[in-house]
Symmetry: D2
Subunit: 366 residues, 4 copies
């Protein structure tokens, strides 16, 4: 693992996700750029001190040289380090599991993509919301044609934790996420907009053809956007909206996806992830539940426990780790796993939003 | 009443709303432009045959001449007749209660506004959703400053009844609502977008300064929009979105309003109208109920029965009729009642959406 | 109308319900036992002073003597007056619409039943919750066999307005409802338990064969029960529970009905009355909505407006008035309308609960 | 681990729960009473073959003799083996983590309790629902007095998986759970009723003083109850109901707890575990969320990730494993962990329900 030392949020999530199904064991890490903090974090996690590194370069080099070197690395640093770190491992044939967004800027993303294409190792991007069983169910319904011809995709991701300028009040998480140097071109756009964008594309199977954005920072003195409204046109004539905000009081992690087609509609809320609302046009709405009656193969394949026993965010995240393990060990493609292309799409989406908004909402192609 | 004969939808709603609280009695009508249908409808409603007219002009003239002539007229025809009918009564000093949208076109709206300004009679526009107690509660919370500085307004109005081309399959309601001659410049925009627009303005107390729209017709052969996505900028730096659709399977009458400010957030769903979700930033979300603990004066003033005993759409509609009665009989202003200005705003909103969309999403001023 | 003067709750509900669909006009009343209050109330309601009576006996006599005397009377007094008042009208051939519970005691109920059986006039008991469209839908599903063999009926009716001893703090409603002289043998049992009992029987089509009750008063000094837990055995081997409480903070009017059979289950909540949750065993749960896809004839027959436009408590109440009008004027039976038998069943239920609880939960036959 | 071989349900849950937070490593097991199945299961889990045993007796003896013997054993067999297995380990000083119900019969429970009291090792019973953060929150609110004097406890646990006689159709889980030899005296009562009973006691801090039960088997040919209705009297004058069923179509894992006191009420649904509804009497209901605004220390102590990121069943289960690890390694008591006393209470509860029901609902003391 690179990053994820003391005080980090997402590093711990990756560790729990990796651990839940017992497919990966954490054996090495460059857990912090501060050597003392890296050491302390490694100790707390029970790592062999000889495999606690003070930089990801050293880690990549040393682990690549070991017979029992790591199979894959999880990169959970702030965004601006993703590209360099990922390259260090990919170029040495070590698989990379990278937190989103893929990089800080679109340029870094393109450059990382070049390296990845030349590597024998794989690159997986943890758009974890795509690991929810009911998201897989939604995708299956779309693919099977149960919605008819898709027409509309509305996705929103609303949070409230940046309502106040907490980046100036000691919140580490807020600090780097609102800092263009470390977060990149997008604030809310990069942090959560990319999730919403990926989810819409993942479930619909469509790419965005053009978009018109109104990107804004509401909190005074903030350097990156904390709110964005976007109108989108997808392939095949589908239209939609995407809104993301981190200043919406009462919205904890309000990721909601809705799709409407000529024959049916779907609604899913991340905060109630075990249910999917499906309406075949002209019939009563169905509440499809994880591992319940009405759930299909795609959802059941990533479910652990019976319906009514809620699985949550960590389980969905862990599903990606299971699929990574299976993909790496079988050598086969994992069609559901986001990778370089999805990462590129995400960074192009962010860049397009900023470009459109700077041009007063002009429709642009990502 | 003008319009509202056999087979009409909204005419019956107006009659029930007027009747519920016993403030108005229906005594005269020009219920249909088809004389035989007008006669039959009048008979069914128990009207004195001598006060069943075959045109609104005749009705206006005759009723104005009677000592016991009507106090007010409800106009519930298709949109294209609103302006002429309203003028006929206003110019004779008879108060007008008119269904929305105010007219078919912006030009008619401006012209009607001129007549209304010169009349001694009042003009009330039945944006009925503003009559819901919890909408009054929301407005009161905004006014009192409980949301702090407003930042975001998201409003959506989603239906599914035009998912198929039912206007070609015998639906009278669909027929005129998708006919530019009778409905006017907006399809979904005029029919439900104006409701959403009014509600956002009503609760926030703000006007739209500019907007960028993506207006579309999805169903082949349809002549008016059945779907629209709009980004908005309100006064005082507030931003938002408005989406309206009549092709969203599973959405029966999905009008949802959300407001977020620097100190709190509000969420209200029309299909669950007796509850309002209020989050003071940094505290647990409250479920405020109609006539329940936590409801304030503005809401209680338009509630009839105890909390937990649901009031619905007709009660909200009836609240406007009560307020009209009180306003007319007291001679005082009714600050909550929509009138000419709100009607004008609505028609300008529709026109601006069409204009913006035609100009590929250019930001325009309504 | 008998009762329902100034300050009354249910009288106003009956008037609104009667008015909504325009089938009845209020023309006479004995609105209060206090003559001055009766006069003022009649004036406020616009009654002809000559038809405002100072006692129901006088009213029954005078109206029966008029050619244009009332067709039916609504009795909305406290419970202890129901029987005498109803008899006064029934014995003169005037139809009676009576609020529930039918009487204060089981003995009065039996005696009223005798009179009613001898009368040419009808007796209707306003168990208004049975007027909800989704309750009619539930009943239809049971009748059609969509639940298979019924096994379980759980009904509960929870309120919180008597959590404190408000009967000693000036609440008129609480005063008589907690007074055995006026309310009768049951407190919560009579006021809301009878509703729950009727609803369970109405939807299932079954009668209670025996029950075991734990009836209690929690608030010190209160003279009647404010809480009851009951286990029931219905006909045909069906079992269930009924709980009612008026001391459950946060529960405004929490009437919930659930039925489970060998092939399916149903859940309905009065506070969200426009939806019914139906699960065919082994399939995803359906959300059936009033006038929406999936609603059947029985529900549609008592619906006014399209799905998604909420109808509420008053509309459900008004459905009974519509059915009364149709029954009286057609001379036909109204199979869905509660009458003497249902009233008797309710009073026997209350008496049985008290008897069982006094015998420490012994199973007794109502 | 004892039990939990191929095809088991709860064994896998225990393993995931133990793994999630990395406090325990699985190193030994007697995973099945069928030696071949035990061997295969151990291999699948990566156990050292020398520590895969063919009986729990052998395992207890061998592990107790090793210097690096197991610290604790998880017992996840059918109920009838719990007591003997637990004794084998407790008597050798090995801590026991045992699935519920504690034993098959009350007699076994008493006997196990004797052994446990004499052992230096601890006994923990995995009433996992008590590990949910919002349950801890509820308990904290009760303890702090935010509900005032408790009056009512309603708990229900409804499932539908035994609606049909699936025990005769090849369901292993159903087979042993409906077999008195293996499940014990209670069917639904033992399997889920004990959970509901424990949760009510855990949150309220109260014990049941007496109860009256109606225990029944609805599915023909079934040997144990599949449904039970119980009225309860707790200490301190609190009353309540408990219903449990495994034949309620549409109810996947419907465990709901409600408490009402003189100053407030609480509602919690296991299927939406991250929210707790709290009503201070006379105020609007609050939605308290896990790790959200309004959550207190007790809940936060067992939360991993931010509010709005759902934690589920496995996380709640894992909370017990974390607390076990902390208790064992600190040597201190873990006040929230269920143990022998709670196990005894549960078995006495089951026995009392059966006894009461056999005596036609007589009130009995557990």
């Amino acid at each position: 693992m690179v990053g994820g030392g003391e005080g980090a949020f997402i590093g711990d999530v990756h560790r729990m996700a990796a651990r839940l199904d017992g497919r990966f064991v954490l054996v090495a890490g460059a857990l912090s750029s501060d050597p003392e903090r890296a050491r302390r974090s490694a100790e707390a996690l029970g790592l062999d001190p000889s495999r606690s590194y003070d930089s990801f370069e050293n880690m990549a080099e040393a682990e690549a040289a070991r017979d029992d070197g790591i199979e894959a690395v999880s990169i959970v640093t702030p965004n601006h380090l993703h590209a360099t770190a990922a390259k260090a491992f990919l170029s040495r044939g070590i698989h990379v599991i990278c937190d989103k967004p893929m990089t800080a800027t679109r340029e870094e993303a393109e450059s990382l993509a070049d390296i990845a294409r030349q590597s024998t190792a794989r690159f997986i991007l943890t758009h974890n919301y795509s690991g929810y069983p009911m998201i897989r169910q939604a995708r299956e319904l779309v693919t099977k044609g149960d919605l008819g011809t898709l027409r509309l995709i509305h996705v929103e991701y609303l949070q409230d934790w940046l309502t106040d300028p907490v980046e100036k009040e000691g919140s580490k998480q807020a600090e780097w996420r609102t800092d263009p140097e470390r977060a990149g071109a997008g604030g809310a756009l990069g942090d959560i907009g990319t999730h919403a964008h990926h989810l819409a594309c993942f479930v619909s199977g469509l790419k965005v053809e053009s978009l018109s954005a109104d990107v804004h920072r509401f909190v005074e003195g903030r350097l990156l956007d904390d709110n964005a409204h976007i109108m989108l046109r997808y392939e095949e004539g589908v239209r939609g909206t995407l809104i993301c905000s981190q200043i919406a009081p009462g919205q904890e992690n309000g990721l909601t996806l809705r799709l409407f087609g000529s024959k049916g509609g779907l609604v899913w809320h991340q905060e109630k992830p075990n249910e999917l609302w499906f309406t075949p046009h002209g019939e009563a709405t169905r509440r499809i539940t994880r591992n319940g009656a009405g759930a299909g193969e795609a959802a059941n394949a990533v479910s652990r426990i019976p319906g009514g026993h809620p699985e949550g965010y960590l389980e969905a995240f862990a599903n990606l780790y299971v699929e990574v393990a299976e993909a790496l060990r079988s050598g086969q493609a994992a069609t559901a796993l986001p990778g370089i292309q999805e990462g590129l799409d995400g960074m192009r989406f962010v860049a397009a939003c900023v470009r459109s908004s700077d041009a007063n909402g002009e429709w642009v192609t990502p």
